[in-house]
């Protein structure tokens, strides 16, 4: 496969996953702010911080209002990671490599792009929920089209590889929202507000039911973190993402025989996750663990680009 094609496919996977996550993250932030006694920084600002978008925000991030944050993260085309930029770039890449995609997959991305402005208007009327569920629909449609129509070959694997790398990063960022959001001063860890915040986090990634399935004794911060970091069963946990990355890399290895730094780094990350437990993680600091994971994962992304000559 052309290296340019592989790169475009990989980035289609990443951008679609990022669009989905960004919409969900803001939704979680808005829901945090619906809880009583929320104090500054607000939920939406925590989401803003965790997304990394504050690093490139042109104004004063401390003064950014809800509307400005939503606009910057969803609809600002100068922000390379905004939802509109992600959909735009995925569609542009899909057009450039459409011979590598089925008609169904291309049409999902093309239609999302064509419908974007229409859906965006709903948000103006303070209806962010409609926008989030539309984004989720698009992503599900895209994934369904991948699953149902794409040949099981390199084209699909590069898309999935991009999606898995992005998803791992996103899950780490999501968990980190809790680090940024402060509890009201009279509240304590494990109290009702703390619990409600964890529930909101779970819901934002459609994982609340999954949690109830796996943990019978009610909501505990430890367990939420364990679910999203270590549980193989949970499709967006760090453990599941890194296993998928390794699986895809091994398939690519057997189809084109290329091995290198990406394989080594992916195995190292997987071993690190397998070799730890949630107590260790909390003891040495959840935030620090998540930050290190993001750094390792980012470095893996660079190695993938090098290994496949992007």
């Amino acid at each position: 496969m052309l290296s340019r094609t592989a790169s475009s496919l990989y980035w289609i996977g990443r951008h679609i996953e990022r669009a989905d996550f960004t919409a969900r993250l803001i939704d979680a932030g808005l829901k945090f702010d619906m809880l009583p006694f929320s104090e500054s920084p607000s939920g939406i600002q925590s989401a803003f911080e965790a997304s990394g978008a504050t690093l490139i925000y042109p104004g004063d991030k401390a003064k950014a209002k809800r509307k400005q944050i939503i606009n910057f993260m969803c609809f600002d085309e100068s922000n390379q990671s905004s939802v509109i930029s992600c959909f735009g770039k995925a569609r542009h890449d899909a057009r450039a490599v459409r011979t590598a995609l089925t008609r169904e997959v291309f049409e999902e991305l093309n239609e999302a792009w064509l419908n974007f402005k229409k859906v965006q208007n709903a948000v103006k009327n303070d209806d962010f929920g409609t926008f989030v569920s539309w984004v989720e629909d698009v992503v599900r449609g895209f994934e369904g089209a991948l699953h149902r129509t794409m040949l099981r070959n390199e084209c699909l694997w590069f898309i999935r590889l991009g999606a898995a790398v992005e998803r791992a990063d996103n899950t780490a960022r999501l968990l980190d929202v809790k680090y940024h959001v402060l509890l009201p001063s009279k509240e304590h860890i494990g109290g009702p507000i703390d619990q409600a915040q964890w529930t909101t986090l779970l819901r934002s990634v459609s994982a609340e039911t999954a949690y109830r399935w796996l943990y019978r004794e009610g909501l505990v911060a430890w367990d939420v973190a364990e679910l999203l970091i270590l549980k193989q069963e949970m499709p967006r946990s760090l453990a599941a993402c890194i296993s998928e990355i390794n699986l895809i890399l091994s398939r690519l290895r057997s189809s084109n025989g290329r091995t290198g730094a990406a394989d080594r780094k992916a195995r190292a990350i997987e071993n690190k996750i397998k070799g730890t437990n949630i107590n260790n993680i909390f003891q040495s600091g959840l935030h620090e663990f998540l930050v290190q994971f993001q750094i390792d994962n980012n470095s893996l992304g660079h190695s993938i680009a090098e290994q496949f000559l992007f």
Partner: protein
């Protein structure tokens, strides 16, 4: 009824009645309301937009991507009409290939004094490099688009030859698919000769011209300028349907006088490049040094016989409209026979007496740049304002050798769907002719382009023209329908 030109459905002259190929279609039109047709047409355009069948128009920032308007009323050609046309097209494509081989080789046509030497040697499209390079299998214009116009029941003319990188074939194929989706029973009744085999013919043709030393399973790529090019959809469509790899210049490199593409598995050698990039841009070392679209060293690998470029560089000279005016003589010279499809009468402004005539009759003529295409740099006298004519006159008198003129033809019309129902609009026809080492292939019909504005003669998609599905139907089948 006022007397107008020839209509594909109604015929010409004073006695207008539905022509045979349209009998069955006319019956259908009587049964379907205009509103219904408009609804179907809108849904066709929606499908085009959804599947990304778009076309970028240069110098129009607002509409980065447009769909080419699609008209649901087919242009129907009778089988026997087509068979004669097809024979003429094959004759012409063969003559063009022999002509190119000759002017870059033995130069017999110049020695015979058939056409002035400066028209060849001073032509910016004449590539001196090609006098020392032999394209594999001596095929030059592998893919030609020859534009045909009609003025009467038996009057077909060649309006233009496109021997560089003719585009539009994807619309020929997509229009048929759209019609099949929208009007299955109508299509079924007509037993239309199929066109979908075009992409199979194309890949067979491309593989057939691989360099003789290439492997038995040659690697074929389509070279595109990229997603911002106006015809990008077509490039990706053809890659999709032929299985050829769609590459940009930056995906290719030359090493040891061989061409490779950059893949995830490392370099992979390329044998045939169907390039949709103009000569000027294919190799910055040989042609335009500023080109970012091409591949440095490509011409060197080509000269070495390690890769085939389709169409060969230098074929553009056969598009030249001054050369066109000599095409009847060219066909006669190489095939020994008269041209089956005649040319449109053409005045070469490089000749002083013709220039005088053109200058005196600008308001009646169509004047074109000899190397222009896509409807750019063209004057349609009868529909232009005085000011436009005077502006054009200045350009003409400054560089008369750059222009030719033709009488304004009464191009045939074809019923076309408008808000007011079916109205006649002018059409032309661009069939696509494939020449490989295994002979010439052509699919029945081609792309019908239609000028959507009432009275307009400009059918180019870059100038607001639309397309129609083109049906070649056989009389035998039609008789069955009539019973």
């Amino acid at each position: 009824m006022k007397k107008t030109g020839f209509d594909e459905m109604w015929g010409g002259g004073n006695t207008r009645s539905i022509r045979k190929p349209y009998l069955s279609f006319a019956k259908w039109v009587d049964e379907v309301s205009v509103d219904e047709m408009l609804v179907r047409q809108a849904s066709a355009e929606q499908i085009f937009r959804k599947t990304g069948i778009t076309f970028a128009v240069y110098s129009n920032d607002e509409a980065e991507e447009r769909i080419i308007p699609f008209d649901i009323v087919p242009r129907i050609i009778a089988g026997d009409e087509w068979d004669k046309l097809s024979e003429g097209l094959i004759q012409r494509a063969n003559a063009i290939n022999m002509f190119l081989s000759d002017i870059y080789g033995k130069k017999e046509i110049m020695k015979a004094g058939i056409l002035p030497e400066d028209l060849i040697y001073a032509n910016p499209q004449y590539r001196l490099q090609m006098t020392v390079i032999k394209p594999p299998h001596d095929v030059w214009s592998h893919i030609s688009g020859i534009d045909i116009v009609r003025t009467g029941a038996d009057e077909f003319f060649v309006l233009e030859d496109n021997a560089r990188t003719p585009s539009g074939v994807s619309y020929m194929l997509e229009d048929r698919e759209a019609m099949q989706r929208l009007f299955p029973s109508l299509i079924e009744k007509h037993k239309i000769r199929p066109v979908s085999q075009y992409t199979d013919y194309l890949i067979e043709t491309l593989r057939s011209v691989a360099p003789p030393n290439a492997s038995a399973d040659p690697m074929v790529v389509i070279l595109t300028p990229g997603p911002y090019n106006s015809a990008f959809y077509e490039h990706s469509f053809l890659a999709d349907r032929t299985g050829a790899e769609l590459v940009e210049g930056s995906d290719l490199f030359v090493k040891d006088r061989k061409v490779f593409m950059r893949t995830t598995e490392g370099p992979q050698q390329v044998d045939v490049i169907y390039r949709r990039v103009d000569d000027d841009f294919i190799d910055p070392l040989m042609f335009n040094p500023d080109s970012m679209l091409g591949v440095p060293g490509l011409m060197d690998a080509y000269a070495q016989g390690n890769v085939t470029i389709v169409n060969a560089p230098g074929t553009g000279i056969a598009d030249d409209k001054a050369i066109y005016s000599y095409m009847p003589e060219i066909i006669k010279f190489y095939t020994g026979k008269d041209a089956i499809i005649p040319n449109v009468e053409t005045y070469r402004c490089r000749e002083p007496d013709k220039l005088k005539y053109v200058n005196d009759n600008l308001d009646k003529l169509v004047v074109k740049l000899v190397d222009g295409s896509g409807g750019y740099g063209m004057l349609v006298g009868p529909t232009s304002t005085k000011a436009q004519i005077e502006d054009f006159r200045k350009a003409l008198l400054k560089e008369p050798h750059r222009f030719i003129a033709q009488p304004t033809l009464a191009l045939s019309t074809c019923p076309t769907l408008t808000e007011k129902g079916l109205c006649p609009r002018h059409v032309d026809l661009r069939p696509f002719i494939l020449t490989g080492s295994n002979g010439v292939k052509i699919v029945p019909g081609g792309l019908t382009r239609v000028a959507l504005t009432e009275g307009s003669l400009v059918v180019n998609s870059s100038q607001g023209g639309g397309t129609k599905d083109t049906w070649v139907v056989d009389e035998n089948n039609l008789k069955v329908v009539e019973e």
